[in-house]
């Protein structure tokens, strides 16, 4: 690999990393502001204009706080757990294309850190790792609430990962590839070629599963403040505590990006050929990607302040008895459709 | 009894025989209190503290008991008074029938408040408790006589007799 190629990749990594972290900050601010508006409140409005510097202030506060490690915890794991949670969350974004390719320095640069041909698999694998962070945090805390939170999280993950994977399978069937770029290309063209219209059931299952994956309300049983006093992060403080939340928001961003990529044509702008517009087309595609993502991020917050938390048994029933059969049924439908199409 | 260091003026009856006679009328010394007070008042004109002390000594009781008796009866005067005493009944029937107006009338006429004596020592005005003539209210006792069912005019006429 030449130096330029290496530099380009390095820049892409840095840009994606920085963008994700900035996204986390924006999300923290947005979450508080939006929730306040939905409750007829004002929300943070003191730090900076309209309170936009609030997340920075929060970050500084977290850094200044005493980093407490309780006496009876399993120290190495206790310290490692937040990192195990945060790193995969940040890594997931690597395979997601966030714009059409661009011509610079005489070569075509894809707006994507790595164009992996098993991108979907990569994403599913990494998001599964993140649950280890929660389970280990819960277990190492040596606290019954934390342990329960961790256990719930792992059980939740198994039941929803499955449905989510199966929902994605129907998309893969349509695209015929595990590469995310192929999936986007498959959706290009008319407005109705987006997978949301072709696979509404898969979208529904995927969306619900994503909420469970990111431990967001109404599926945040691993935190469950009212029952579990904070769940897996009960014993955490200072920056380690903050890392859990950074991971949560990073996960949300990734999940939103994935939803957009799989069901909303990714960076695709309908009825437009971005490639023919040059740099402007690329910018347009990135903007389109960001807008779509923003909607789903808003939906995350919106849902959180609308629905109450599920009971644990309801969660399990929904996962195993409703979503899994539905996903299987969807695969069957898709496969049947494709077979019929192939047969002519 | 106790004095504040100063020797008090002593009172003696001018007529010791009369005193003896009064005592002889009663089996109990204390019963002589009232006649002795009358005797002393006729001699002095009013009941002074020294009178009370000496009568208390005579009847063998505390001065406070004698004072209790003196203050009970309106015909005993504890202060020097004018030649004529106007006693206006203040109790219910008389009060309802205009005794207060009579008092105000005298006050206006002679510029004396109840309990005071005119400058020329002619009249002393007094408000008293029930004189026992409620049927003919209002009642005024001039010296020792009752004047009943008085109106302002009648009262003026009455006062004119004594001026």
């Amino acid at each position: 690999m030449d130096l330029l190629g290496f530099t380009i990749i390095l820049v892409k990594v840095l840009v994606v990393f920085a963008a994700t972290m900035l996204g986390v900050l924006v999300m923290i601010y947005a979450e508080r502001r939006v929730s306040a508006f939905m409750q007829d409140r004002v929300g943070p409005n003191r730090v900076g204009p309209k309170g936009v510097l609030q997340p920075i202030a929060d970050g500084i506060k977290f850094l200044m706080k005493e980093d407490l490690v309780p006496e009876k915890v399993d120290k190495p794991i206790f310290i490692l757990a937040p990192a195990i949670l945060l790193i995969p969350a940040l890594m997931t974004f690597a395979v997601i294309p966030f714009g059409s390719s661009i011509n610079l320095f005489g070569r075509e640069i894809a707006l994507q850190v790595a164009d992996v041909n098993v991108g979907v698999l990569y994403i599913l694998a990494l998001t599964s790792i993140s649950v280890y962070g929660i389970v280990l945090a819960g277990w190492s805390s040596n606290n019954k609430y934390s342990l329960l939170g961790g256990l719930r999280s792992s059980a939740q993950l198994i039941s929803y990962e499955l449905a989510m994977g199966l929902a994605v399978v129907s998309i893969i069937l349509l695209a015929g590839s595990l590469r995310l770029n192929d999936i986007i290309t498959d959706q290009q063209g008319s407005f109705f070629s987006w997978n949301i219209f072709r696979q509404p059931l898969a979208f529904l299952i995927f969306l619900i599963a994503v909420y469970a994956e990111t431990n967001r309300l109404p599926f945040d049983l691993s935190e469950a403040e009212q029952e579990l006093v904070g769940g897996y992060h009960t014993e955490y403080s200072s920056m380690k505590f903050a890392m859990f939340f950074m991971a949560e928001y990073a996960n949300m961003i990734t999940a939103a990006a994935l939803t957009v990529t799989l069901f909303f044509g990714g960076w695709d702008v309908p009825l437009l050929d971005e490639g023919s517009l040059g740099l402007f087309g690329t910018l347009l595609s990135v903007l389109s990607f960001l807008l779509k993502m923003a909607f789903f991020l808003f939906l995350f917050i919106w849902v959180r302040w609308t629905f109450p938390r599920f009971r644990y048994d309801q969660l399990m029933r929904l996962g195993w008895k409703v979503m899994l059969p539905l996903a299987l049924f969807n695969i069957f439908l898709t496969a049947g459709y494709l077979t019929l199409k192939a047969l002519g | 009894m106790k004095s504040n260091g100063k020797p008090k003026p002593r009172f003696t009856f001018e007529d010791p025989e009369r005193v003896e006679q009064i005592f002889s009328q009663y089996p109990d010394k204390k019963s002589a209190t009232l006649p002795l007070l009358h005797l002393a008042q006729s001699q002095e004109g009013y009941i002074s503290n020294s009178v009370i002390d000496s009568i208390a000594e005579l009847v063998d009781c505390h001065p406070a008991v004698v004072m209790d008796c003196v203050s009970f009866y309106t015909m005993f005067y504890t202060k020097p008074h004018g030649r004529n005493i106007i006693q206006i009944c203040q109790t219910l029937s008389c009060s309802l029938n205009g005794a207060d107006e009579l008092v105000d009338h005298v006050t206006d006429k002679y510029k004396i408040k109840p309990g005071e004596t005119t400058a020329d020592d002619q009249f002393t005005l007094m408000k008293v408790e029930c004189l026992g003539s409620c049927g003919t209210a209002p009642v005024v006792q001039m010296n020792k006589e009752y004047h009943e069912s008085l109106t302002k005019q009648k009262f003026d006429e009455l006062l004119a007799e004594f001026e």
Binding site: M38, D40, R41, F307 | -
Partner: protein, 178 residues
């Protein structure tokens, strides 16, 4: 006799839950655009309604004499046992012959029920609209007679929070040496 109440039979759409979820989302979304009800507290003062039971005060007669006669009815009525009075003969001529030499209210114990106000035969103790009287120590939250009389001066015009000059108002001092 038991009456049988027919339970509600959910329809197909009810069982699907999605319309209900949508309605829920619409409700919160509408609120997103509503006018917010927040009062920016330290900048903007909340004006309590008539009859609000806040900090106590001891009333005075127009000539400046304290109304309280230290009858201790308030402390007898107090369910939190937070009023402590030491009575004494009043230094003024005429009128009531008794007044409180000391009159302490432990604001940390007080539950602001207003029984003292109701028990008072002289209309001397009253609860005012003042609600912001926090302090740094427990001792400073025992308000004494002078403090209570000062509260009267601050609140007698019924405009503690409405008057423009808040600088004086914000200096309610419960920490006068007790």
């Amino acid at each position: 006799m038991a009456t049988i109440v027919k339970s509600y039979e959910p329809t197909f759409w009810d069982k699907l839950y999605l319309p209900a979820l949508m309605r829920g989302l619409i409700v919160t979304f509408r609120h997103f655009f509503r006018k917010n009800v927040t009062i920016q507290y330290p900048d903007q003062k909340h004006i309590p309604p008539e009859g609000y039971r806040g900090l106590h005060r001891l009333n005075k007669y127009p000539e400046g004499r304290i109304k309280c006669v230290a009858c201790e009815m308030c402390s007898a009525a107090c369910p939190a046992d937070c009023i402590h009075i030491i009575p004494g003969p009043s230094p003024w001529d005429g009128g009531k012959e008794r007044y409180p030499v000391r009159f302490d209210i432990d604001l940390l114990r007080c539950i602001f029920c207003g029984f003292c106000e109701m028990a008072c035969p002289e209309e001397a103790i009253e609860l005012t609209e003042i609600y912001d009287f926090s302090d740094y120590t427990r001792d400073d939250l025992v308000i004494d007679k002078e403090g209570l009389l000062e509260v009267y001066d601050l609140t007698k015009d019924q405009n503690y929070y409405t008057k423009k000059n808040l600088s004086k108002a914000s200096s309610v001092n419960t920490s006068i040496d007790t």
